[in-house]
């Protein structure tokens, strides 16, 4: 098919309202990007006409999402995962190798249009990295041999469908099972058992059980799930929505990947249960673009549930219990894990966090009452409905009931998924995953907390060290500044740009971290970092901005000796580097001799 035909097919009028079609805009663009390798100008013009919206707004959308492009990418579009966990496994050397072998510079398509090589934020394959996305599909366990093999396949123009299947293998790596993942409770939510409980009792009874269980949101924020559902149920409206947040973007988090791969039915059961309780007839699973390879299998699970009468009209034969789920893809934007950005993105817009109040439970998707919960939360809710509040409360602490899935990676022998009762000590986790010679632990990802190993008596719980799942281990051979630098670059890449402190402060902070890494920072710069970081924490518009300085502030607070050892021994060092400023002139004149450099004395 030509691009023109592809576009015509994708954006063919669906017969629904213009508002409904407009909320499909991002999905149209994802499909066009996937099939054409870019969004041609024609597509933008046609979409603008069809949806009666300014073309510049569509361009604004493309400019916002990292996976959408107005210029063609290579036939083979490679995005190497650039998380610190990939770095620990040697991804930066592999990137160099890839570029050298293919003769490309990062981000620039090769002249023959065959290939582009670029980096992307954490792909969630941290337990079996380094990883890359190839035309949207995950390739795990990269080695220099595998890279050579990949280069050969590209040069031979081998169709991706003909590539060795083991390249695309992604394992679950479940190392510890507890309440949710245990074999004994596996049958609890099968064949709509939770929905049957709902029909045998009523929504209030389910709400009571969920509230009694003490279940709190598993994405990290820990809002009480029962309360959220109740607010949504009580909100005045004719239509309500249930949204599953599967935009698992926090670096080092990959537990939702596993749940969606092997427990999708339980997750959908939880969403349907929620729909029955709050009175929603429509649900969305917002799947991060990095997990596109899970789209087809998830659609298959949805089809099976429809066939079994667990989705669609009159669920389990109950009149008026109508609910169905649609999967929306993200397109490379970490901010869309924030619930109000996610809703904006679902509506087909740039993922800018909304002003709150009002909150999504009363004014969410299309301004209607909406429950947004994490993948793990929905699965837990479904099990609680069947097995009861006491079953759930047997594990955990009074404030943090139940269990938590941790995704562990970094310097340990056995990376993977560990399900622990809340309250487990960090020491226990480190022992179980085979971490030795540990220097520091990063809990809850880039937005989380850096802890020195001396703090290993602390516990994983909402009231102590809270996490959405990420748990990264760094041994004594690692330079923690690499991690801090990686995270500060990550936040600059992922800031939505809406508010001043995050947009500008984040960039200033990144530049200061670079200065520190390069050995040019002074005590004055340390003071600047503290001041900018604290401003970002207090004044930012959303959680991204207020957590973005955490890695830097934790470094300054917990590892002052490390920082001190890297400072330049002068009171002030200029941010302006004379020699670097001459680079453009050197490039133009083709000179690189000593006379073309200014050496500053150190």
């Amino acid at each position: 098919m030509t691009h023109e035909e592809i576009i015509r097919e994708i954006i063919a009028p669906s017969g629904t309202s213009r508002a409904a079609e407009r909320s499909q805009l991002l999905q149209y663009l994802c499909q066009i990007q996937h099939q054409c390798s870019y969004i041609p100008g024609d597509a933008i013009t046609q979409l603008a006409t069809r949806l009666q919206m300014p073309a510049s707004e569509i361009q604004g959308l493309i400019g916002f999402y990292a996976f959408l492009h107005e210029q063609p990418r290579g036939d083979y579009d490679i995005l190497l995962s650039d998380s610190i966990s990939d770095h620990l496994l040697g991804s930066r050397l592999l990137l160099q190798q890839l570029c050298n072998r293919l003769g490309v510079a990062p981000g620039v398509p090769r002249a023959d249009g065959r290939v582009t090589v670029d980096t992307t934020s954490c792909t969630g394959i941290c337990d079996q990295g380094p990883a890359m996305l190839l035309n949207g599909r995950v390739i795990s366990r990269l080695t220099d041999r595998r890279i050579d093999h990949i280069c050969a396949l590209i040069e031979a123009s081998t169709a991706v469908t003909q590539w060795p299947a083991e390249f695309f293998q992604v394992d679950d790596n479940i190392r510890r099972r507890d309440l949710l993942l245990s074999e004994e409770t596996a049958a609890a939510t099968m064949d709509g058992k939770a929905l049957r409980v709902l029909l045998e009792t009523d929504g209030n009874a389910i709400l009571d059980v969920i509230e009694k269980s003490g279940l709190r949101g598993r994405g990290g924020a820990g809002f009480r799930t029962g309360m959220k559902w109740r607010f949504c149920r009580q909100a005045e409206s004719d239509s309500r929505y249930v949204v599953c947040n599967a935009d698992e973007g926090e670096p080092g988090t990959f537990k939702d990947r596993v749940l969606l791969n092997s427990y999708a039915d339980s997750v959908f059961e939880g969403m349907t249960l929620c729909a029955g309780v709050v009175g929603a007839s429509r649900g969305y699973l917002y799947l991060r673009g990095e997990y596109r390879y899970l789209l087809e299998p998830l659609q298959a699970v949805l089809r099976q549930r429809r066939e079994k009468g667990l989705l669609g009209q009159c669920i389990l034969g109950k009149d008026g219990f109508d609910f169905d789920i649609e999967i929306h893809l993200g397109a490379g934007a970490y901010i869309c894990g924030e619930e109000s950005s996610l809703i904006e993105s679902l509506e087909g817009k740039r993922g800018i966090p909304r002003n709150r109040p009002p909150f999504p439970v009363t004014h969410g998707y299309l301004n209607q009452p909406t429950v947004v919960n994490n993948v793990e939360t929905f699965m837990a809710a479904a099990k609680i409905a069947v097995l009861g509040a006491d079953w759930f409360r047997q594990a955990g602490t009074p404030e943090s009931t139940g269990t938590k899935l941790l995704s562990i990676c970094g310097d340990c022998e056995r990376p993977g998924i560990y399900e622990y009762p809340f309250g487990v000590t960090i020491k226990q986790v480190l022992e179980d995953c085979g971490a030795v010679n540990t220097q520091a632990i990063q809990v809850a990802g880039a937005a989380g907390t850096t802890l020195p190993v001396a703090d290993n008596g602390r516990r994983i719980a909402f009231e102590d060290v809270s996490t959405g799942g990420s748990f990264m281990v760094f041994n004594n051979d690692r330079d923690l500044l690499d991690m801090v630098q990686n995270f500060s670059h990550f936040f600059v890449h992922e800031s939505c740009g809406f508010c001043t402190p995050c947009r500008v402060g984040g960039s200033l902070l990144k530049n200061l971290v670079d200065k520190l890494v390069n050995g040019h920072a002074t005590h004055y710069d340390v003071g600047e970092m503290k001041q900018i970081g604290s401003l970002m924490k207090r004044a930012s518009h959303c959680g991204l901005g207020s957590t973005a300085p955490n890695p830097v502030l934790d470094l300054l607070n917990h590892f002052p000796q490390l920082v001190e050892s890297r400072l330049a021994h002068s009171g002030y060092e200029p941010a302006f580097d004379l020699d670097a400023a001459l680079q453009e002139a050197r490039d133009i004149t083709g000179r690189d001799d000593p006379g073309a450099h200014i050496r500053t004395e150190t």
Partner: protein
């Protein structure tokens, strides 16, 4: 005055009506909270963060925070003023703001708020971004060097002019204003100098052509009184004097 409908702003009781934000009520009572992206004619935005205030140890943007009875709002503690200064410094280093060479100097809200908060220098390292000037329109020029992403022109063109001339593209530090036209140039768009969008820019990014420096420095909008008394530059755009551009 019923205590039900008042909150305290720096110890002064402020009356409010149902649906008011803290900013709405403060402005109506004549109390000044520094702001840039807020303009009472448009829906609150909350992006510049200059209007942050302290409530119970938490910071919120007063332009988006609903007023409620009994709130104790801090709008003037030294920490808060320092924070606003830092936010302004961030805006100054993000773009290319060269006041002495800017037609808007003296009638610029960014400059006036900076004076008001006592900002003396940009402090941070300048980004010196490479941005362009769009002079393609016969009556109006855009100097992107001075854009602070308040989105007032976006809102005005969309909500009042119904022309959708402006949008934001990119993200993070790469966020930028774009013009809705085939060439991306203002001259190719539906924009007219009589549009609302031509009269809401708080800085010198969107400027009328064909006149310059008609109003001498020293007698411009904020030259004799501070912004806390004079108010927003956009509020003076429709004045008979209409002196904001030095006419």
């Amino acid at each position: 005055m019923s205590s039900k409908n008042t909150f305290m702003l720096d110890g002064v009781a402020i009356e409010f009506s149902e649906g008011d934000t803290i900013m709405d009520a403060a402005l109506r009572s004549g109390s000044y909270i520094p702001h840039l992206c807020h303009n009472p004619e448009f829906r609150p935005h909350g992006s510049c963060r200059v209007c942050v205030v302290n409530i119970n140890g938490r910071q919120v943007s007063s332009c988006t925070q609903p007023a409620s009875a009994g709130l104790e709002v801090d709008n003037s503690s030294e920490d808060l003023v320092q924070e606003r200064r830092n936010l302004l410094q961030m805006l100054f280093v993000e773009g290319n703001h060269v006041c002495p060479g800017c037609e808007k100097s003296g009638a610029c809200q960014l400059q006036a708020v900076a004076y008001y908060t006592g900002m003396l220098s940009p402090q941070y390292t300048h980004f010196f971004p490479q941005r362009s000037v769009d002079a393609s329109h016969p009556d109006t020029a855009i100097d992107f060097n001075r854009c602070i992403l308040c989105e007032l022109c976006v809102r005005a063109s969309r909500d009042v002019d119904h022309k959708d001339v402006f949008s934001i593209s990119g993200r993070g530090i790469g966020s930028h204003l774009v013009v809705n036209s085939p060439s991306g140039k203002l001259g190719d768009s539906a924009f007219a100098a009589t549009d609302k969008a031509a009269h809401v820019c708080p800085v010198g990014a969107i400027l009328p052509k064909h006149r310059g420096y008609e109003q001498p420095i020293g007698s411009r909008l904020y030259d004799r009184s501070p912004i806390s008394i004079v108010g927003d530059v956009a509020a003076h755009e429709s004045d008979d004097q209409g002196d904001t551009h030095g006419r």
